[in-house]
């Protein structure tokens, strides 16, 4: 239809020519852009406030308002098809519908989705009944309202749309902060004196006005799509409300322009095509959005290296000779594909837990710390399982599963319950509690190892085996199958005496740890 236009023609000339050739087309374009602008803006709030179903109700209730407005103007003022009368009627019925839904769901035990369903179908049906009962007065084409017809927009409709656009945009710009606040945190809004109910009703009024204009383009049934598809699409892309609104407008426009163009090409209903394209845009963005998209999520999951694999790798290196290993060696030990190991090692290298020199992988200080923590958890779990009587040959495998539960509290609990063992069931040393054993920390004597020194700063019970506040101690090797703590009490670096403590006593003395000599 516009194929005769030369590419060199200026836009203005093109507009003039097109307008002269097809006056309805330019009107349709203008209508579409105005309507999609306001729909996309208000749609953002509908998406964020999760009131899509309510917007649907509002659009359906419009029919009753149109018929009512028509009737009133016809009977009282003998005005045929008075645009403003129908507009006011639709807005009034929209607000009435929202208000009555709110009232009924507050006052009855029926939840609001059911109330919305009951009320709006009722009001919609009432509009249909009125239209057919008074069909001799009311020349409303119900089909037109249901399906919409952008090509049938009159000049007065267009003026009304321009007015709606101005009113809605002015409201959103002026009350931007209030709208943001009541959408995000109503209690806070009310607590700083925002009139929450007033803003709510103003937003509902705007929604009703926008829906009335949207119905012209796509009809009652599809208007919700026009309203919320652009906002929902933008929501997948934006982290700020302002950006979301702008992006939503862009999607509204592109949905309209592409849909309208396609409808001309395919000779189908423009309203339907616009909504199809808008939904298509949403699905596309849902698929490819950089952060909140489906593919991005899958990619993240695919790229993520399971915690268990990381812990296994650290464990293998720590136990290896010289704490060095190759990717192939690790892969063999934990029965895993080499590529997977390489990928994990690379990510651990970036995290600075591992260093890779030629093919040799070794631990950094930080990596060793983590590995030792795991080793401690593993060996404590093994000891615990043995303590419970789990068969020797199962110990390792079961502890291997459990070692991934290694938060501080769990490990401390196991350590304490087992009497702070020094060796695991296979005779390997259980690493000390290096999380707490930091010079300057206040710790129980029970977790100290040979060579630690400190000053008694607190006692929790009277049962301290004779240790008193202020004493300096050095820990010696444990006795009695590791059940007896032996400490040497010092005075100015000369030995004062040796004290033997059982578990309970060692637990009740707190020392402030000093750097080991």
């Amino acid at each position: 239809m516009v194929s005769g236009v030369q590419p060199m023609t200026s836009t203005y000339q093109w507009l003039v020519e097109v307008h002269q050739a097809n006056p309805y087309l330019i009107k349709a374009l203008l209508t579409g852009l105005l309507v999609t602008t306001v729909c996309s803006v208000i749609g953002c709030y509908i998406v964020l406030r999760r009131t899509s179903f309510l917007a649907d109700a509002l659009s359906h209730s419009m029919l009753a308002g149109v018929v009512g407005g028509y009737l009133v103007m016809k009977i009282l003022f003998n005005q045929e098809a008075h645009a403003l009368g129908m507009l006011v009627g639709s807005i009034a019925s929209g607000i009435f519908t929202v208000a009555i839904i709110g009232y009924v769901s507050r006052k009855s035990r029926v939840k609001d989705d059911a109330v919305i369903g009951v009320m709006y179908t009722g009001i919609f049906a009432l509009g249909g009944v009125l239209a057919s009962r008074f069909s001799e007065y009311v020349h409303v084409d119900v089909y037109h309202f249901v399906i919409g017809s952008i090509l049938g927009v009159s000049d007065s409709d267009l003026k009304m749309m321009a007015l709606v656009t101005i009113v809605v945009l002015t409201f959103v710009i002026l009350a931007f902060r209030q709208l943001q606040l009541i959408s995000f945190d109503r209690v806070m809004a009310a607590s700083i004196g925002v009139n929450v109910v007033l803003i709510d009703y103003m937003l509902t009024t705007c929604t009703a006005m926008v829906v009335v204009t949207g119905v012209q383009v796509v009809g009652i049934i599809q208007v919700v799509g026009l309203l919320i598809a652009p906002g929902a699409t933008a929501y997948l892309l934006c982290d700020r409300l302002k950006n979301m609104i702008w992006v939503s407008i862009l999607f509204g426009w592109s949905g309209f322009l592409i849909g309208y163009y396609l409808s001309e090409q395919l000779n189908v209903s423009p309203g339907g095509m616009i909504v199809v394209v808008s939904t298509g845009q949403f699905l596309l963005v849902f698929l490819v959005a950089p952060r909140y998209g489906l593919l991005a999520g899958l990619q993240r999951r695919w790229r993520a290296i399971p915690q268990q694999l990381i812990e296994d790798i650290l464990g293998v290196i720590l136990r290896a000779e010289n704490e060095q290993a190759t990717a192939a060696g690790i892969a063999q030990r934990i029965e895993c594909r080499v590529e997977r190991i390489r990928k994990a090692v690379e990510s651990l290298r970036r995290q600075e837990w591992l260093q890779v020199d030629d093919d040799i992988i070794s631990l950094t200080d930080e990596g060793r710390q983590h590995a030792r923590r795991l080793l401690r958890a593993h060996r404590l779990w093994e000891s615990y399982l043995q303590h419970l009587g789990v068969a020797e040959e199962e110990l390792h495998d079961r502890a291997h599963v459990l070692e991934h539960v290694h938060d501080e509290d769990t490990v401390d609990y196991l350590d304490d319950k087992l009497g702070h063992p020094l060796m695991d069931p296979h005779g390997a040393e259980i690493p000390e509690d290096f999380v707490h054993l930091v010079p300057g920390e206040e710790v129980r004597v029970a977790i100290l190892r040979e060579g630690h020194r400190g000053e008694v700063v607190r006692v929790l019970t009277a049962n301290t085996g004779g240790l008193e506040l202020g004493m300096q101690l050095v820990v010696g090797p444990r006795e009695d199958d590791s059940q007896m703590w032996v400490v040497t009490v010092m005075d100015q670096n000369s030995m004062q005496g040796v004290v033997r403590l059982n578990h309970a006593q060692a637990d009740s003395v707190i020392v402030k740890l000093q750097p080991s000599a």
Partner: protein
């Protein structure tokens, strides 16, 4: 203003605003609120000195949230009144900052850390006016105070639990409120987050603000708060944790709905309610 400033500096004693020369941060007198024949609050009187971290405990439906709403000026009492720094509660709109329950926040909302902090300034401008540069500075400073400046452009869903709490604390600070009301900040968080949130509360308290926190977990109540308010419609106790967490008192209020607290620190502690300093 004068009174407020002087009162801020003398707030270390947990003596619940008993001092005569000090204007209480919160003064509730004979407050009765009802939504029907059963009162939500009955004849509640209490006084909270500035700079306190106060826990509100009590069984479900005991009027804890009604108390918060009264402090916010949301409910009209049947009788009694609420004063904040000597001012009527409904006059003092905005002086009290409400920190919402974590579960009630839409963490997917397209709003950044910086924008949430700025919301604290929304009440200061007429609604059609723009936010001023000064407002932005105040919001930025509030973020700094809770050490969240570097996350300013982060969407709020992409924060850890402790950080999320800090954002809302920053908003409350930006509001300029001396009194912060928190509705169960510890509900449904893991131990590390709980610790992180407590740190934020303590720093905010140290800055001289008064915090009133609805709390559920009696086992941590004594450790977290300077004083406790035990509610069940009536005020059952208001005092140091040691005074309030009395087994008899608790079993009366909770009517045996509570499992045994073998290990309530209050039960074994000194009369003056000093907190133990044990931390292992």
């Amino acid at each position: 203003m004068q009174a407020r400033n002087t009162s801020m500096s003398t707030s270390t004693n947990p003596n619940l605003g008993g001092n005569k020369d000090q204007v209480a941060a919160i003064e509730v007198r004979n407050l009765t609120v009802s939504y029907g024949p059963v009162p939500a609050l009955l004849d509640v009187s209490l006084s909270i000195a500035p700079g306190q971290l106060v826990g509100v405990i009590g069984p479900n439906g005991s009027g804890k949230s009604t108390l918060l709403k009264s402090l916010l000026g949301f409910v009209k009492p049947d009788f009694g009144d609420v004063e904040l720094f000597g001012e009527d509660a409904d006059q003092a709109k905005g002086r009290v900052a409400y920190v919402p329950q974590r579960g009630s926040v839409d963490w997917d909302f397209p709003v950044t850390v910086g924008e949430v902090a700025l919301m604290g300034r929304y009440g200061k401008q007429r609604w059609w006016r723009d936010i001023s540069a000064e407002d932005r500075e105040i919001a930025d400073y509030a973020l700094e105070q809770v050490r969240m400046s570097e996350f300013r452009d982060r969407q709020i869903g992409q924060l850890s639990g402790g950080q999320q709490q800090r954002v809302f604390m920053a908003r409350a600070i930006a509001q300029g409120s001396e009194i912060l009301l928190l509705d169960e900040p510890f509900a449904g968080v893991d131990a590390a987050t709980e610790r992180a949130i407590l740190d934020v509360l303590e720093t905010t308290r140290e800055a001289g603000r008064t915090l009133v926190v609805v709390h559920h977990d009696l086992t941590t109540a004594s450790e977290y708060f300077d004083s406790l308010i035990l509610l069940k419609q009536r005020l059952f106790a208001h005092g140091t944790p040691a005074q309030v967490l009395h087994p008899e008192l608790l079993s009366e209020v909770y009517e045996g709905k509570l499992r045994v607290f073998a290990h309530l620190p209050a039960a074994e502690h000194s009369e003056d309610g000093q907190r133990g300093t044990t931390n292992d």
